[in-house]
């Protein structure tokens, strides 16, 4: 059970680095979607007994993070008519190396933390730290609004992974609420992307630094 769990979380950690290294926006969206789907399946692995509510939440997470949100982002991308992140604030190789360093650091940190025995041998905590850091890197190091949304999604995936530690005590209605919030947030960002595109004819968020009447 733990090895399957670690395999899935390891896959999610690898997807972090794919998202950091790729310059094409569709592949970053695909990476975020894949990560959301992989992590959405984890509750099924964590629960010893099969429960229908858990299955519903897992299916909902996979559907929303794997299909609905990427669909919204792809629509925004089509409207904005851009394909590549041309001038990142932080280059692809430096961000890849920082992401890899963060992943290794997270594994080392996970070994040093006083975790409960059932979590000590899983990658849950290192995976959560690494994913959060990689999400922040994408948020800070890129200038296109869509990439920043993907960074936000990856960051949320990291927090979700951390929340899985408490899966037995969190009411599932909270999980469903978070999922709904996320969808609404991406929906709103899709509208904002459209407005930025109409106003400035670009998705470069560095243009949004000064206020006008």
């Amino acid at each position: 059970m733990t090895s399957a769990l670690n395999l899935f979380i390891g896959l999610a950690m690898g997807v972090n680095l794919v998202a950091l290294a790729s310059s094409r926006l569709p592949s970053i969206i695909r990476a975020a979607a894949l990560q959301g789907m992989v992590l959405g399946l984890l509750p099924l692995l964590l629960e010893e007994k099969f429960h229908w509510l858990v299955a519903v939440v897992a299916v909902g997470t996979v559907a929303v993070k794997g299909f609905v949100i990427p669909g919204l982002l792809r629509r925004a991308l089509r409207v904005a008519n851009i394909d590549r992140e041309m001038q990142p604030l932080l280059g692809f190789i430096p961000s890849l190396l920082i992401g890899a360093g963060a992943t290794i650091g997270a594994v080392a940190l996970g070994g040093a933390l006083p975790l409960r025995p059932e979590h000590a041998h899983s990658l849950l905590v290192p995976g959560a730290f690494a994913t959060v850091v990689c999400g922040f890197l994408l948020l800070m190091g890129r200038t296109k609004a869509i990439t920043q949304v993907c960074g936000y999604l990856i960051l949320e995936n990291g927090i979700y992974l951390f929340g899985l530690l408490l899966i037995n005590t969190t009411p599932l209605i909270v999980e469903a609420g978070i999922l709904l919030d996320l969808t609404v947030a991406v929906f709103v960002i899709g509208i904002i992307v459209d407005r930025i595109q109409r106003e400035f004819d670009t998705l470069d968020t560095t243009k949004l630094t000064s206020l006008h009447e």
Binding site: L17, A21, I93, L96, T103, H121
Partner: protein, 302 residues
């Protein structure tokens, strides 16, 4: 006496088998493209032809030009002698020979680059600069891969390091080593061995001013390096050192053939990368090996 004979026999097998690999790659490429292609033994014919030809030297070259080629070839042959071939071990094996292996590869590269610089051609200087700047990343990857194997087996001798199968990180290690193999042997996503366009060449630029027997030595050395990396990849991933000798020989031959056909398929199906994308791919190869190292380090505790 028997021992000397065995070492000589192995040397002969390494030297004679190496030029077969580029022939197989070209055959696979021709097959995918629907052509008939050159014969599999084409490189043998080329080497024989080059060996009979005279040498044309520029007036600018020093004796270091020929010496560089010779040293590069000899160091590649020595590196091949350090690699074990299945359960019977390597002809030369001692504690720490993994380090010597890495250094011999670096020495061969240094000598090829310095022989290229020696011709005084700006064009070859450009090729040498490209070769060594990509080597920085490729060497980091191969050292990390050897560290992973060393950590898993608790040894710094290639014979013990390569004998067992790679542990949990085998897929990562295989992918990383395959990318390094393609980069080190100037294969397609990194460099195109067939092209003669100045904008895209790396390795081919360095050997443009070589002719006759020195060019034959360089071509043979390159094929030997390809065979070495294929054997290294096969033995790092599969437990070839633990099999019985006939099974090990079959497994080794089969996996080297698979790697060669894989290179041919990669060359047929992928386009050459733009120059600015190459460091990203090499960094990825390094990170794959690094994560294999992480798995080897933490795998026992998780």
């Amino acid at each position: 006496m028997i021992a000397t004979f065995e070492v000589l026999l192995r040397l002969l097998v390494w030297l004679l088998l190496a030029p077969l690999l580029p022939g197989i790659i070209n055959k696979v490429k021709a097959w995918v493209a629907g052509r008939r292609g050159p014969p599999v033994l084409q490189l043998y014919f080329d080497l024989a032809k080059l060996w009979r030809k005279g040498v044309v030297l520029s007036t600018a070259v020093s004796p270091g030009h020929i010496a560089g080629v010779a040293v590069a070839w000899v160091s590649l042959v020595c590196a091949a002698m350090l690699l074990p071939a299945g359960p019977s071990g390597a002809p030369l094996a001692f504690r720490g020979d993994a380090l010597l292996f890495v250094y011999l590869l670096a020495l061969a590269r240094f000598c090829t680059a310095s022989a290229a610089l020696d011709t005084g051609s700006a064009f070859e200087g450009m090729g040498a600069a490209r070769e060594v700047s990509y080597a920085v990343l490729g060497e980091a990857a191969i050292i990390t891969a050897l560290l992973t194997l060393g950590l898993q087996s608790g040894s710094v001798s290639l014979t013990t390091m390569l004998a067992p199968a790679a542990g949990a990180g085998a897929a990562l290690l295989a992918a990383g080593l395959f990318a390094v193999l393609l980069a080190e042997n100037c294969r397609v996503p990194f460099d195109d061995p067939n092209t003669h366009l100045e904008l895209t060449m790396i390795h081919e630029v360095m050997v443009l001013d070589h002719s006759g027997p020195p060019l034959a030595a360089i071509l043979h050395g390159a094929s030997l390096k390809l065979l070495m990396f294929s054997v290294l990849l096969a033995e790092a991933v599969l437990p070839i050192g633990k099999l019985s000798p006939p099974a090990a020989a079959a497994a080794l031959a089969g996996s080297v053939l698979t790697v060669t056909v894989g290179i041919g398929l990669v060359e047929s199906l992928l386009a050459r990368l733009a120059f600015r994308r190459v460091p990203l791919l090499l960094t990825t190869a390094f990170l794959l090996c690094l994560f294999a190292l992480l798995v080897a380090w933490k795998g026992g505790h998780l």
